[in-house]
Each structure stands twice: as C-alpha cells, then as structure tokens.
C-alpha cells in the first residue's frame, strides 16, 4: 500500500502528536544555561583561586553543549520529518490532522533552531572568557 493511500499516514491521530515536544528544545536550552551557570558559580566560589580550575569549567561547558546540541538536533530532525510529511509547503492552516501534525513539526523545528543558536551563544562564553575574574 502506498503511503498516500494509508489513512494513518495522511491523517495522523491526535494521540500520535505530542504537544510538549514543542517546548522540549527550549527546555534543553534552559537546562544547558542553568548547568553552565551553576557549574561556573560553584566552581568559582569553591575553587576560583586555582588557575587550572577554569579548564575544568571549560570542559564541563563543552560536554554540556555537545549533549544539548545533540538532543536539540534530534528534536529538530523529528520536527523536520514531521513538517515534510506528504508535502513541505507552508502555511499549515488547513483544518486537517495532516496540517496540524505538520504545523507542530514545523514549530518544533523552528524552536529547535532558535534553541541551538541560544545554546551556542552561551557556550561561546567559555571560548572568550578564561577565568573566574
């Protein structure tokens, strides 16, 4: 059976869509920001005097950023796949399950893009700033 004649493919049910996925990427950005901030704050408060300490902070930032970008990228990919189901034309303003599904995908993709940029912004701080002072 071709996908076009598959009603499930053409008309994804409400249960197949997840509203929260829209908010997942920005949430990862928020966790990344907090993780970076808390790590830096605790490290600078407790071990700020030592010169080598900041390398640890930088490594931590790098690890957080790789993990966060991987997760955001994955969500963005899900969104991208979802928005190009059947067609990738915009806008998604039809009263159909397909357009609702594609809209949620597109919004997820856009928010993932924004979250990725904002995450990189925060990560760049560790590139330019090399100490707690």
């Amino acid at each position: 059976m071709s996908r076009i004649s598959d009603p499930e493919y053409m008309q994804p049910t409400e249960e197949q869509d997840r509203f929260w996925i829209l908010f997942a990427s920005p949430t990862i950005w928020a966790i990344h920001l907090l993780a970076c901030y808390i790590t830096a704050a605790i490290w600078c408060a407790k071990f700020g005097e030592t010169e080598s300490a900041f390398t640890t902070v930088r490594i931590a930032f790098a690890v957080y950023t790789v993990v966060a970008l991987a997760a955001i990228g994955w969500l963005g990919w899900i969104g991208y796949q979802q928005q190009r189901r059947v067609t990738d034309k915009t806008p998604h303003d039809d009263d159909t399950p397909l357009d609702r599904h594609r809209f949620l995908g597109f919004a997820t993709l856009l928010l993932s893009g924004l979250s990725a940029i904002a995450t990189i912004y925060v990560a760049l701080v560790a590139v330019f700033i090399g100490s707690c002072d």
Binding site: Q11, E14, D17, F19, L22, F23, P26, T27, W29, A30, L33, C36, Y37, A40, A41, I42, C44, A45, K46, G48, F54, V57, T90, P91, H92, D93, D94, D95, T96, P97, D99, R100, F103, L104, F106, A107, L110, L111, L114, S115, I117, A118, Y121, V122, L124, V125, A126, F128, I129, S131, C132, D133
Partner: protein
C-alpha cells in the same frame, strides 16, 4: 481552506422561530447578570473582566499622577516641591503600581474579558476563580496605594533591595509592599490558571492547535511564564518578611545572610515580568494587524516560535540586572549571551507584522496608529536593551537615567501604546460604541510626541552621569535643560492620556450603536452582538479556519440561528464545551458556576490575613486566615456537583458527559498548574539553601547541629505511608469499598499529622535558633513549608472523607480524590526534597 470530510457541519435548516425564542429565553435566564446590589456577586467573564480592566486602568492613572509629581520635582535643580522622603515613596509606588497593579492585571483583565469570546466559549472554566482574583486584586491594590496618603508607603524602590529594606527602614512601608503585593501575586497566579486551562481546554470544537488565534498562543505562554516567574518572588517575599518581622537573617551578612540572594529571587521574577507584560501587548498587535491589513497574518508558525521562544529565553536574562554586583565574569558572559539571543525571537514577530502590513491592503485608523507607535518605540527600547545587555556598557549606564529612558521605551512602546490600540479595537465589542477616530488621532500625536520629548533626553542625561532615584540635583551639571524638556514632554503625554480618558468615559447616550464586527475582523470575538448578550456565543461553532468570520460561509448566521453546538440551556444552567488539547475534540459539557458572594468573602478574609499581618496583629491575622480557609472550603464544597444525568445532547448529534474526572477534567488541570507554581516557589527556597552553601566556606556551620536525621527521616516515612494510603483510598473508593476507603483515608490523615509534627520536631529538638544564623533560618523555612503543605494534604484527606460521607463523592464521581492524589504526588516530591536537603545534604557538604 481545506477541511476533513467528516467535519460536523451546521444544521442545514435553522430551528423554527418558536423553538429559537424559547432557547434564547432559557439561555438568557441561565446567563442573566444579577441585578441591584447583587450585581457585585456576578462572576461571568464579561462583568469580572470589565471591573478588572477599569480597576487596573484607574491604578494606571494613579501611577501616572505619581510620575507627574516626580517630573515636577525634577524640572528644575534643587527643587523643594517634594522632600526626599516623599520622592522615595512616590518613585517606589510609581514603579510598583505600574508593574503590579497595572501592567500585569490589565493583561489578565483583557484576557478574561475577550478570551472566551475569542474561543467561542460561554465563559472561562473557573469564573469564580476569576472573581476571587479580581476581589483580591482590588483589596490589595487599594491597601498598597492608600498607604501613601498616610505617609507610610514603601520607599525602597520597586525592587525592595535589602539591606536598605531590611536593616534601614523599620517603618511599615516595606511590609505593606511585601505582604500587599504577595497577595496580589496570588491573584495573578489564579488568573494564570484560569487562562491556561481556558486556552488548552475550552476552545471551540475543531479549533485545532494550528488554528488557534495568535492571542491565545501568547496568553498561553505568558500565563505559563507567570507560573514560573511569580513564585520565586513570593519565596523572596517570605524570606524578607521573615527577616523584617522575626529577625531571621536571610539577608544580613553579619549572621551569614546575603542580600544578593534577594536580587536573584527578585530578578528571576523581574526580568520575565518585562516579557509577561510585553507579550500580551504583542498579542494585541497580532490580532489588530491582520484585521487592518485585511489579510491573514504572515508567518503564523514564526510568530508562535517568537511567543514560545521569547517566553523561554526571557528566563535566562535575570543576571543582567546584577552585572555590577561582583559576580564572576563567566556568569556575566552567560547572561549577556542569553540577553543578546532574546533579540532574535523578539525581532521575528516584528518582521511578521511588518510583512503582514506590506502584504495586505492597509485601512487607516487611530487603532493602527498606536500599533505603529508601539512598534517604533519598542524597537528603540529593544536596541538600547541590547546595548545594556553588553556588560561593559552596562557598568557605565547602570543606575543612570539611561536605564530609565531605556525601560520606558520598552514598557511604554511595548505595552502602553499597544494597550491603547487594544482599547480602540475592542471598545465597540465591550461597550457597543466606538471611540472617536478624530480625538484618537489627536491623542496619538500628543502621546507620541509627548513620550519622545519626555523620555529621549533621559538617555542623554544618563550618559552625562545623572543617577536614577535622586530626588534632586545641583544646578550647572548639564542636567537642567534636559530635565526641563523631559518634564514638558511628560505633561504633553499626560495631556494626551487625559484626552484619551475623556474619550473613554464621556457620555455616549446620543450616539448610535456601532455596527456588528465594525472592523470587519476575521476572528471569533467579533461574533459578539451589539449590544452584547450575556451568553457569549448564541451557539458554539465548529471551526474550520484561523479566520472563521472571513472564511466560513454563512458563519455568523449559523451561530446566531443556533445551528451549532449548545444552542439551548434546557436545565437553565450555565454550560460550555470542554475540548481536547491538540484537536479541540469535544469531551465534556461543563457546567460552570454562577453568581456568588462567597468569592468576595474569601478575598476579604485572605486580604485580612495579609493586611493584619502587616501590622503584626498576629491573632487577628490568623483568625482571618482561618476564615479564608473556611470560605475556600465552602466554595469548593459547591463545585463539581453530581449531575442529574450522565450525559447530555449538545446538538449536531453529539452527546457529551457532564461529569469528568482525571486528566480530561479542567479541575485536574487547575490542580496540576497550581502545584507547578507551588513547586517553583519551593524550589526557589531550596535554591536559597544551596546559594548559602556556595557563599560560605562552612555550611552547615559547625556550631549549628541540626535538624539531625531521625526526625526528618521519620517524617519522610510517615508521609510516604500517608501518600500510599491516599492512593489506595482512591482505588478503594473506585471499587466502592466504603469500609476500606474510610479506614484508609482516616489512617492517611493520622499519618499526615504525625509526619507534620515530626518535621517540626527535627529543628525544634536540636535547638536550631532561626535568629542566630542563616543556616537554622533556612532549615526552619524549608521544614515550615513542608509542614504547611502537610497540613494542606491533611485537610484535603479529611475533605474527601466528608465528601464521600455526604454522598457528594462516589465510586463513579470521584474528581475530588483524583485531584487530591495529584496534590499528594507533588507533596511527596516536596517531602522527599526537603528531607534530602535538610537531613541528607549536611553529610555531602
């Protein structure tokens, strides 16, 4: 516009005229507004929303007068028009009133007023909650504003920084701010709950998530932000008030406290707050622009990206208000980066509006002039915002008039102008008549010119070094002319606002009613009949488009002739349709509450608690608090009654259940949202504990041994048992095993009591003195928070017991215990974290 094949269509034929008349009579009777003095018992969104709007507008005028007094004082150097003390009270009240009593409430007010119309709903799901929020708001607002007439107003700035407000101002002013505004913050959270559930669950059938009006998207985001932004401030208020009233040293460095914690808690609230008031105004523009451009919004999904993206990113900016507190450079960098990033989504929505205007055929109107003014002004404020987000620039501009200029460009451009546009836009819908276009154009030029003349020079005086919050300045420093210009501008602005106010309140008896949908808009709120009927929509429509009035043929006729859902109120009860979150599939015919005075009494006694506590009249405050709890329980007792039948025919061949419990029910969502806010406040207190750990070399300090392990762990065990028994009682209730249910819930209540006593026994038996050092103080606060929630859990268990005994809860109609179980999930988490922190963390530290 494409729709699915099996979408319900309106009735092909209208019901006979006779039938329609009877239906209309019943609907009118069900939704009738109370008359005479009982008018004030109304809870319907159209009344409460109107009162709310009028009240917040009055507070706006009050705040505006305070601003003019400040501008008179600053017009010339070394002026003696106001004393330093008066000036401090006035600038504190100006900021506090504009933020807490105008900007946030006006958005809630507008939303309560128009959101149900926009969603084709008869009302929001919890009308009494809106009414309670309104009465709390008005009581708290009058209390806070009135203080200035007794020379007792707060004078520590709208941010109330300690140690100024904790150690140097012993008068009642700061208490009025802390307790009065905490009370209002609770009202804001109440409105947020109402609006979130409204947008997610009360949309008209068929209004899928990709079809909802952009206003609703923004409201959803903003209400969600309130849940995460206001609780940290409430937590901060608790700590600061405990310091002021009982000398617990949270912000006193001599005893281990740290004033910077207040700044964190305040600005975790304070920065999102800016977006909490800005986004609803953008929401208004998102509705107004397509109407006057005569075309659907360009880039709907991109605007949604902006709304959600800005909502999130705005939480990552709070430290940019603290760039000069000496935080590590890397921390400043992180928040500087996030502050730059937020410009991206903010800019995207502005480009979408501009694109819509370019794509459409723009119709001239006063309303649109204010939108343009808003966009232009906000862009200037936004760009100076990006400047101060750069830490080195901020070091120079901090605490100068540059910031005053910047924030007024943001707030007046981003909020006041769009709100004025909103007034012009929605006035015919609410009052049946239009505001004058001619006066509107004059108002526009006056406020636009006055605003820029008033506030632009502040950037220059700030750059020249004029500090903020000074009551006067010496002559000859270069500030004289600039300040005089600012004052002249402020009065031109005030003149414009006065003219606007005149246009709003002037008698219109001789003017004809406006035509229906006077702007030829496409969204549902313009279904409203003129003059308006109390029922919202005559029948609740099936939606196929983002702009149903433009796209769905014969739409208004079909709604008016009752060809859609719920065209009747057979039982003469107030009903609306509850739908699913994503596709707005009808799932319940919800009966909403009617007029009552109980919400007024509940607000009076809640207010009494806060107001009496301000003056340290503890006994009266506690009595008032207990009476408030009694009123709230009395109110809850009458909600979700067991219906006379299981389901109801709502028209178009659809039958819906009347009573629903669990995640499909609006009450479950309200509990979930409330507890999310509650958990956020709790986590802010936990953040305080760890904040103190990071700033101290030894935390817990050696001389303070406590609260030990035994009592907290015992409390954990007792609460865990109570939690388990509550969940089992839910199951026994569902199985209709009355004996086991009663035994289980009574056992759970006893265990809750034991758990509450045990958590207090921890710090008590280890002699932790909360006034001696910040460590015992923060342990006491966490233990106290948990104990209060334990008592809340206990009351709820007893409430379920009483409900079942009174036959108001049965095996089938079990919403009470389902919601109580949800509360207990959150309580269990609170208990686990509290015990883990106060008993477990000392071992790790």
């Amino acid at each position: 516009m494409q729709t699915t094949e099996n979408d319900p269509e309106p009735l092909p034929e209208a019901p006979p005229l006779e039938v329609r008349r009877t239906q209309e009579e019943r609907l009118l009777k069900a939704w009738e507004t109370p008359k005479g003095w009982r008018y004030w018992s109304a809870v319907n969104n159209s009344e409460v929303g109107l009162w709310y709007t009028v009240a917040s507008f009055c507070f706006f005028l009050y705040g505006g007068v305070l601003a003019l007094l400040m501008r008179i004082q600053l017009a010339v150097p070394e002026n003696t028009f106001l004393t330093a003390n008066q000036y401090n009270q006035i600038f504190t009240m100006h900021g506090s009133v504009m933020m807490f009593l105008f900007a946030v409430p006006i958005f809630e007010a507008f939303s309560i007023l128009v959101l149900p119309q926009m969603l084709g709903a008869r009302d929001l799901p919890f009308p009494r909650l809106s009414a309670y929020g309104f009465w709390s708001f008005i009581i708290g607002g009058v209390f806070v504003c009135g203080s200035i007439f007794f020379d007792a107003a707060p004078r520590g700035g709208w941010f109330m920084y300690p140690p100024l407000t904790s150690s140097y101002q012993s008068d009642v002013g700061a208490d009025i701010w802390l307790l009065g505004l905490t009370f209002i913050e609770i009202a804001s959270i109440a409105a947020a709950i109402e609006l979130i559930v409204g947008v997610l669950k009360c949309r008209p059938p068929g209004m899928r998530i990709n079809l909802i009006p952009l206003y609703s998207w923004y409201i959803l985001v903003v209400a969600g932000m309130i849940l995460f932004a206001f609780p940290p401030l409430i937590a901060g208020d608790i700590l600061l008030e405990m310091e002021r009233a009982f000398h617990w040293p949270f912000f006193d460095p001599a005893r281990g406290g740290d004033p910077v914690l207040w700044q964190h808690l305040f600005w975790i609230f304070g920065h999102p707050e800016v977006y909490i008031i800005f986004l609803p105004s953008v929401a208004l523009m998102a509705m107004i622009v397509p109407t006057f451009a005569r075309t659907p919004i360009v880039g709907y999904s991109w605007v949604v990206l902006s709304a959600v993206g800005t909502g999130f990113l705005s939480f990552g900016l709070w430290v940019h208000h603290m760039f000069t507190t000496g935080l590590p450079g890397v921390s400043l960098g992180i928040f500087s980066a996030a502050s730059q990033a937020v410009a991206i989504p903010t800019g995207v929505q502005i480009f979408c509006f501009l694109a819509t205007l370019v794509a459409g055929r723009v119709v001239k109107s006063a309303c649109l002039l204010f939108v343009f003014a808003g966009l232009a002004t906000f862009i200037i404020g936004g760009l100076t915002g990006v400047m101060v987000a750069v830490a080195p620039f901020d070091f120079q501009a901090h605490d100068t008039y540059f910031i005053v200029g910047h924030l007024h460009y943001v707030l007046i451009g981003g909020t006041i102008f769009p709100i004025m546009a909103g007034f012009y836009y929605f006035f015919p819908m609410v009052r049946g008549k239009k505001l004058s276009e001619r006066i509107g154009t004059i108002v526009f030029w006056l406020v636009f010119i006055g605003f820029n003349v008033g506030f632009f020079p502040m950037h220059i005086s700030g750059m020249m070094g004029m500090p903020r919050r000074v009551f006067t300045y010496p002559a000859g420093m270069g500030f004289d002319t600039l300040n005089m210009i600012s004052t002249i501008g402020a009065f031109i602005l005030a003149g414009g606002l006065l003219l606007f106010f005149f246009d709003v309140v002037r008698p219109r008896k001789n003017e004809p009613y406006s035509e229906r949908n006077p702007w030829n808009a496409g969204t549902l709120e313009w279904l409203a009949e003129i003059p308006d009927k109390p029922w919202g929509a005559r029948s609740i429509p099936e939606i196929d488009s983002r702009y149903p009035l433009w796209d769905q043929p014969n739409f208004v006729r079909d709604v008016d002739e009752g060809r859609f859902y719920l065209p009747d109120a057979k039982e003469v009860l107030r009903e609306t349709i509850v739908t699913s979150v994503i596709d707005a599939r009808p799932i319940q015919c919800l009966r909403v509450a009617g007029p009552t005075f109980i919400t007024v009494w509940a607000a009076i006694f809640t207010g009494g608690f806060f107001i009496l506590a301000t003056y340290h009249w503890w006994t009266s405050a506690v009595i008032s608090g207990l009476l408030a709890i009694v009123m709230l329980l009395r109110w809850a007792w009458t909600t979700a009654p067991i219906p006379e039948k299981d389901s109801k025919d709502v028209g178009l061949g659809m039958t819906l259940p009347i009573y629903v419990s669990g995640p499909n029910a609006v009450g479950w969502w309200a509990m979930f949202i409330t507890m999310t806010a509650d958990l956020t406040a709790f986590m802010s207190l936990v953040f305080g504990y760890f904040f103190y750990w990071t700033v101290h070399k030894d935390f817990p300090p050696e001389q303070h041994q406590g609260p030990g392990v035994f009592w907290p762990v015992l409390s954990l065990v007792l609460f865990a048992a109570s939690y388990g028994l509550t969940l089992l009682s839910h199951r026994w209730n569902r199985e209709d095993n009355a004996k086991m249910f009663y035994g289980g819930i009574i056992g759970a209540a006893v265990l809750s009591l034991g758990g509450t006593a045990a958590i207090i026994a921890g710090p008590w038996t280890t002699n932790l003195d909360p006034t001696s050092h910040v460590y015992p103080a923060i342990v006491w606060v966490l233990a106290g928070w948990m104990a209060l929630h334990g008592i809340g859990g206990l009351i709820m268990q007893l409430y379920c017991l009483a409900r079942r005994a009174a036959r108001r809860m049965t095996a089938k109609y079990d919403a009470d215990i389902v919601n109580v179980c949800l509360y207990w999930h959150f309580l269990a988490l609170t208990v686990f974290i509290t015990v883990g922190v106060i008993a477990g963390f000392p071992f790790l530290a």
